[in-house]
Symmetry: C2
């Protein structure tokens, strides 16, 4: 039994009536015929064809998700959040994975080389009549121009674009929190391993760091801020540099876990201990943070929440409801073993 027509024949009613009970238009059909039809639907295990319905009502209840790279750590949790909202609201996700990380790494300018692929993915999604599109960035940054303008709602998560709606986490307050945590632990020489300054995320995090220092009347010192490239190796190199300098920091804050763990290794290689001699705090709460020695205190990203918020905002947009165009969600600090109280050491 495959169609409404067949169910209607069995129940000796019209297809319209079957459609009415399927769509819970209870005022349109007597409870008698309603029960009869429901019974037949149960017996025959009939599942209405949503494709046909979609064509008719011009709405597919489908969200197109374009992920820059699903194998990058932040993306699965974001999609998990999108999925949760979708499930609760009877939407489906049509997923397209661009696989950009392997193709271009951190060389984001390369993205123009994939413009044609991306356009193709988008066009395919649109031809499937998705109700809206969520673009999931593999790293917080400006992606203006990667997507052509379309007449369906589009929203960016984990990245942003000029004049576009986006959902992200709040870099500044997260870094404020991390810095404040170190200050509260008694640290007075807090070095920062920053990300490249062309990253707006790095800039916001730096601002959070400065704000926390300032708020505690501590001096911001240029020599305590070094810049890496987000990689493990660069964290290692910069960690060594900080440890070898004449002004040894009491704590190091890194803008991601990879650089943090690189720094931890450098500190340990120099014979110092984490956190006894130097505390370290990372950022991202990558899975490996719990398996390092010591386990890494870090900042947890609200990825699931971002995905959930993205989906709910997109659907609100589809339904022409009012929305907030620039959403920033707060991060939590995860206290583990790499950051502790500052107790004075051999240096002054």
């Amino acid at each position: 039994m495959n169609t409404i027509k067949e169910i209607a024949a069995l129940a000796k009613v019209s297809p319209a009536t079957v459609s009415n009970v399927l769509n819970n238009r209870n005022d349109q059909v007597s409870s008698e015929t309603r029960e009869k039809i429901l019974e037949i639907i149960r017996e025959t295990n009939f599942k209405p064809n949503r494709i046909a319905k979609s064509l008719r009502v011009n709405r597919t209840h489908t969200i197109g998700v374009i992920a820059e790279d699903i194998t990058v750590f932040n993306t699965p949790s974001i999609i998990n959040g999108i999925n949760a909202f979708s499930e609760q609201n009877n939407y489906r996700i049509i997923l397209n994975d661009l696989g950009l990380n392997e193709k271009m790494g951190h060389n984001f300018s390369e993205i123009t080389r994939f413009k044609k692929t991306i356009d193709g993915s988008l066009a395919a999604l649109l031809s499937f009549q998705v109700d809206g599109i969520i673009y999931v960035g593999l790293h917080p940054r400006d992606v203006t121009g990667v997507l052509p303008l379309v007449d369906k709602p589009v929203l960016y998560v984990g990245c942003y674009a000029e004049n576009q709606i986006s959902v992200n986490y709040d870099d500044k307050s997260a870094f404020y929190k991390a810095t404040k945590t170190l200050i509260d632990l008694g640290h007075d020489r807090i070095a920062l391993i920053a990300g490249p300054s062309d990253s707006l995320a790095a800039e916001s995090r730096l601002a959070g760091y400065k704000a926390a220092l300032e708020n505690q009347d501590m001096l911001y010192r240029d020599e305590f801020v070094v810049t890496g490239d987000w990689g493990f190796e660069s964290g290692h190199k910069l960690g060594k540099l900080l440890v070898d300098s004449d002004k040894l920091p009491t704590a190091i804050l890194a803008m991601n876990d990879l650089m943090a763990i690189g720094a931890v290794n450098a500190i340990q290689a120099s014979g110092l201990k984490v956190p006894d001699d130097i505390s370290v705090i990372g950022f991202d709460n990558r899975e490996f943070c719990q398996y390092t020695k010591p386990s890494l205190t870090t900042v947890q990203l609200p990825l699931y929440e971002m995905g959930y918020m993205a989906a709910s905002t997109l659907i609100a947009l589809v339904d022409n409801e009012d929305i907030n165009r620039g959403i920033e969600l707060p991060c939590d600090l995860i206290a583990r073993d790499s950051a502790g109280l500052h107790h004075d050491y051999k240096y002054n």
Copy 2:
């Protein structure tokens, strides 16, 4: 310009002719009218409605993917592979994430509690008229019964079910390879930290271990095989146990990276060195393997390939082509720093 009808009107031909050029039925239309129509399509940036086409031809070019948990490490790469095949063959993925890991952890019997949700996900996918379904397991094991029987092609990746088609990696040959690698490095006391024996995967890996020993005329010794629960802590505990025993192993093979890295930590805590005193090899090639000290030699899973193979097999099935019902793909060993030549040490 949104429909074939409108394009037809502009080109002063019938919708049938537009449809013919859209579907490359070149013998059906003169190159003149063909060019004219193509030109108009370009100008108007017309994208045919695939929902309408799907309804008409009773084929959506859509693969339903049910992932037990997209946040578990193996799943994104598998989906990446499914996506790659789909992209090349003009299919789309409708993704449903069950989020089971958080809900049930390793307590797989709990899965029956989610039967209703899973049935719902499947029903929704079917009502969207997917051409076939791929079920992505979060851990290799028997999932017979989680999915009800349906009349669309279904395939299992990263898990298996009775009488069902599945794509997995070859546990036995992978473990044979890992064991053989240690033997070739001169190790003669190779301990094994196994997974629970109710896991078929653990059984196959054990068989590979035994086969490699046997092949080199080495004795299999029960006291060298200990059983963990896949977790970091259990690896730590068992690593300590092995290190504290009177018959110190020269190498430890673990059935996953988490237990391997737990063992490494235990070895180091006891004052021994990896790999100088004891070599360690893991399994899975989790991302953190490159960031541990020493970096972990391990077995790489062919996840992308499994996903690609799953998608291509599923579509072959949809097209009624012959397929292989039980596919096992080989794994590669990734040599890093945790396994080295065995040079005799203080023990005999």
